[in-house]
Symmetry: C2
Subunit: 75 residues, 2 copies
DNA sequence: TATATAGTTACCATATATGGTAACTATATT
DNA sequence: AATATAGTTACCATATATGGTAACTATATA
Protein backbone atom coordinates (compact mmCIF):
# COMPACT_ATOMS: atom_id res chain seq x y z
CA UNK A 1 0.00 0.00 0.00
CA UNK A 2 1.45 3.32 -1.07
CA UNK A 3 0.28 5.32 1.94
CA UNK A 4 1.74 2.79 4.37
CA UNK A 5 5.01 2.68 2.42
CA UNK A 6 5.28 6.47 2.58
CA UNK A 7 4.77 6.41 6.32
CA UNK A 8 7.42 3.76 6.78
CA UNK A 9 9.93 5.64 4.64
CA UNK A 10 9.32 8.90 6.47
CA UNK A 11 9.67 7.22 9.81
CA UNK A 12 12.88 5.53 8.67
CA UNK A 13 14.44 8.84 7.69
CA UNK A 14 13.28 10.38 10.93
CA UNK A 15 14.78 7.56 12.96
CA UNK A 16 18.10 7.79 11.16
CA UNK A 17 18.19 11.53 11.73
CA UNK A 18 17.60 11.07 15.46
CA UNK A 19 20.32 8.44 15.60
CA UNK A 20 22.86 10.55 13.73
CA UNK A 21 22.10 13.58 15.90
CA UNK A 22 23.28 11.45 18.80
CA UNK A 23 26.37 10.33 16.92
CA UNK A 24 25.82 6.65 17.40
CA UNK A 25 26.11 3.78 14.94
CA UNK A 26 23.32 1.45 13.89
CA UNK A 27 25.02 -1.30 15.84
CA UNK A 28 25.03 0.84 18.94
CA UNK A 29 21.34 1.66 18.52
CA UNK A 30 20.70 -2.04 18.08
CA UNK A 31 22.55 -2.80 21.27
CA UNK A 32 20.74 -0.12 23.29
CA UNK A 33 17.28 -0.97 21.97
CA UNK A 34 17.68 -4.76 22.07
CA UNK A 35 16.68 -4.85 18.40
CA UNK A 36 19.00 -6.76 16.11
CA UNK A 37 21.19 -4.91 13.63
CA UNK A 38 19.62 -6.04 10.34
CA UNK A 39 16.27 -4.99 11.67
CA UNK A 40 17.59 -1.52 12.52
CA UNK A 41 18.63 -1.24 8.89
CA UNK A 42 15.17 -2.32 7.73
CA UNK A 43 13.55 0.21 10.03
CA UNK A 44 15.78 3.05 8.83
CA UNK A 45 15.21 2.12 5.21
CA UNK A 46 11.46 2.13 5.74
CA UNK A 47 11.08 -1.52 4.88
CA UNK A 48 8.99 -2.37 7.92
CA UNK A 49 6.06 -0.99 9.88
CA UNK A 50 7.22 -0.89 13.51
CA UNK A 51 4.94 -1.93 16.35
CA UNK A 52 4.30 0.19 19.43
CA UNK A 53 6.65 -2.01 21.44
CA UNK A 54 9.43 -1.45 18.92
CA UNK A 55 8.76 2.30 18.92
CA UNK A 56 9.06 2.34 22.70
CA UNK A 57 12.32 0.39 22.65
CA UNK A 58 13.70 2.87 20.10
CA UNK A 59 12.59 5.89 22.13
CA UNK A 60 14.20 4.46 25.24
CA UNK A 61 17.43 3.77 23.36
CA UNK A 62 17.38 7.38 22.13
CA UNK A 63 16.58 8.57 25.65
CA UNK A 64 13.41 10.41 24.66
CA UNK A 65 9.72 9.92 25.36
CA UNK A 66 7.36 8.37 22.88
CA UNK A 67 5.83 11.78 22.42
CA UNK A 68 9.21 13.30 21.68
CA UNK A 69 9.90 10.56 19.19
CA UNK A 70 7.11 12.03 17.06
CA UNK A 71 7.90 15.66 17.79
CA UNK A 72 9.26 16.50 14.35
CA UNK A 73 7.58 13.64 12.57
CA UNK A 74 5.02 15.02 10.18
CA UNK A 75 2.98 12.95 7.78
CA UNK B 1 6.39 -10.92 27.56
CA UNK B 2 5.16 -9.10 30.63
CA UNK B 3 6.60 -5.69 29.71
CA UNK B 4 5.02 -5.82 26.26
CA UNK B 5 1.70 -6.93 27.72
CA UNK B 6 1.73 -4.03 30.16
CA UNK B 7 2.34 -1.60 27.34
CA UNK B 8 -0.50 -3.03 25.30
CA UNK B 9 -2.91 -2.89 28.22
CA UNK B 10 -1.99 0.69 29.03
CA UNK B 11 -2.37 1.72 25.45
CA UNK B 12 -5.73 -0.03 25.25
CA UNK B 13 -7.05 1.87 28.24
CA UNK B 14 -5.68 5.10 26.85
CA UNK B 15 -7.33 4.50 23.50
CA UNK B 16 -10.68 3.72 25.08
CA UNK B 17 -10.45 6.87 27.17
CA UNK B 18 -9.79 8.98 24.10
CA UNK B 19 -12.71 7.35 22.30
CA UNK B 20 -15.13 7.86 25.18
CA UNK B 21 -14.07 11.48 25.58
CA UNK B 22 -15.32 11.95 22.05
CA UNK B 23 -18.55 10.13 22.78
CA UNK B 24 -18.27 7.67 19.94
CA UNK B 25 -18.85 3.92 19.85
CA UNK B 26 -16.30 1.30 18.97
CA UNK B 27 -18.15 0.70 15.74
CA UNK B 28 -17.89 4.37 14.87
CA UNK B 29 -14.17 4.40 15.63
CA UNK B 30 -13.84 1.31 13.45
CA UNK B 31 -15.64 3.04 10.62
CA UNK B 32 -13.57 6.23 10.87
CA UNK B 33 -10.24 4.44 11.18
CA UNK B 34 -10.92 1.74 8.57
CA UNK B 35 -10.06 -0.85 11.20
CA UNK B 36 -12.59 -3.63 11.69
CA UNK B 37 -14.69 -3.75 14.83
CA UNK B 38 -13.33 -6.91 16.47
CA UNK B 39 -9.86 -5.51 16.08
CA UNK B 40 -10.87 -2.28 17.81
CA UNK B 41 -12.01 -4.43 20.73
CA UNK B 42 -8.69 -6.27 20.77
CA UNK B 43 -6.79 -2.99 20.70
CA UNK B 44 -8.81 -1.52 23.57
CA UNK B 45 -8.45 -4.69 25.61
CA UNK B 46 -4.68 -4.61 25.11
CA UNK B 47 -4.61 -7.91 23.29
CA UNK B 48 -2.51 -6.67 20.39
CA UNK B 49 0.57 -4.57 19.78
CA UNK B 50 -0.45 -1.97 17.20
CA UNK B 51 1.81 -1.00 14.32
CA UNK B 52 2.73 2.56 13.44
CA UNK B 53 0.27 2.48 10.55
CA UNK B 54 -2.55 1.43 12.88
CA UNK B 55 -1.58 4.14 15.37
CA UNK B 56 -1.77 6.72 12.61
CA UNK B 57 -5.17 5.50 11.44
CA UNK B 58 -6.41 5.74 15.02
CA UNK B 59 -5.01 9.24 15.53
CA UNK B 60 -6.63 10.39 12.30
CA UNK B 61 -9.97 8.89 13.33
CA UNK B 62 -9.67 10.72 16.66
CA UNK B 63 -8.66 13.89 14.82
CA UNK B 64 -5.41 14.34 16.70
CA UNK B 65 -1.74 14.16 15.74
CA UNK B 66 0.42 11.15 16.47
CA UNK B 67 2.20 13.25 19.05
CA UNK B 68 -1.07 14.15 20.74
CA UNK B 69 -2.05 10.49 20.74
CA UNK B 70 0.79 9.94 23.22
CA UNK B 71 0.31 13.16 25.16
CA UNK B 72 -1.09 11.56 28.31
CA UNK B 73 0.32 8.13 27.65
CA UNK B 74 2.90 7.34 30.26
CA UNK B 75 4.68 4.05 30.58
C1' DT C 1 -41.78 -9.83 24.20
C1' DA C 2 -39.29 -8.25 20.57
C1' DT C 3 -35.95 -5.31 18.41
C1' DA C 4 -31.82 -2.65 18.12
C1' DT C 5 -27.36 -1.42 19.48
C1' DA C 6 -22.75 -2.08 21.78
C1' DG C 7 -19.35 -4.85 22.97
C1' DT C 8 -17.18 -9.25 23.00
C1' DT C 9 -15.44 -13.76 21.68
C1' DA C 10 -14.15 -17.65 18.80
C1' DC C 11 -12.72 -18.97 14.91
C1' DC C 12 -9.87 -18.82 10.53
C1' DA C 13 -6.66 -17.06 6.84
C1' DT C 14 -3.15 -14.01 5.25
C1' DA C 15 0.35 -10.65 5.60
C1' DT C 16 4.12 -9.15 7.85
C1' DA C 17 7.11 -7.83 12.02
C1' DT C 18 10.88 -9.55 14.21
C1' DG C 19 14.97 -12.32 15.25
C1' DG C 20 18.93 -14.77 13.70
C1' DT C 21 22.74 -16.00 10.79
C1' DA C 22 25.82 -15.32 7.21
C1' DA C 23 27.81 -13.01 3.70
C1' DC C 24 28.46 -9.05 1.18
C1' DT C 25 30.10 -3.98 0.07
C1' DA C 26 32.51 0.09 1.27
C1' DT C 27 35.54 2.68 3.86
C1' DA C 28 39.25 3.67 6.79
C1' DT C 29 43.35 2.31 9.03
C1' DT C 30 47.62 -0.28 9.98
C1' DA D 1 47.81 -6.28 1.58
C1' DA D 2 45.42 -7.04 5.79
C1' DT D 3 42.33 -5.74 9.43
C1' DA D 4 38.41 -3.42 11.47
C1' DT D 5 34.14 -1.17 11.36
C1' DA D 6 29.56 0.30 9.37
C1' DG D 7 25.98 -0.65 6.73
C1' DT D 8 23.46 -3.68 3.83
C1' DT D 9 21.31 -7.76 1.83
C1' DA D 10 19.63 -12.46 1.40
C1' DC D 11 17.98 -15.93 3.45
C1' DC D 12 15.00 -18.55 6.88
C1' DA D 13 11.85 -19.45 10.91
C1' DT D 14 8.57 -17.98 14.22
C1' DA D 15 5.36 -15.01 16.33
C1' DT D 16 1.78 -12.09 15.77
C1' DA D 17 -0.96 -8.10 13.64
C1' DT D 18 -4.79 -7.62 10.99
C1' DG D 19 -9.03 -8.65 8.49
C1' DG D 20 -13.23 -11.17 8.12
C1' DT D 21 -17.22 -13.73 9.58
C1' DA D 22 -20.38 -15.37 12.78
C1' DA D 23 -22.28 -15.85 16.99
C1' DC D 24 -22.67 -14.58 21.54
C1' DT D 25 -23.88 -11.43 25.82
C1' DA D 26 -25.81 -7.39 27.75
C1' DT D 27 -28.46 -3.45 27.75
C1' DA D 28 -31.91 -0.33 26.44
C1' DT D 29 -36.11 0.55 24.36
C1' DA D 30 -40.49 0.06 21.59
Amino acid sequence: MKEKDNIQKKFGKHLKKLRLERGITGAELARRSFIDKPHITRLEKGETNPTLYTLIKLSQALEISLQELFQEFKL
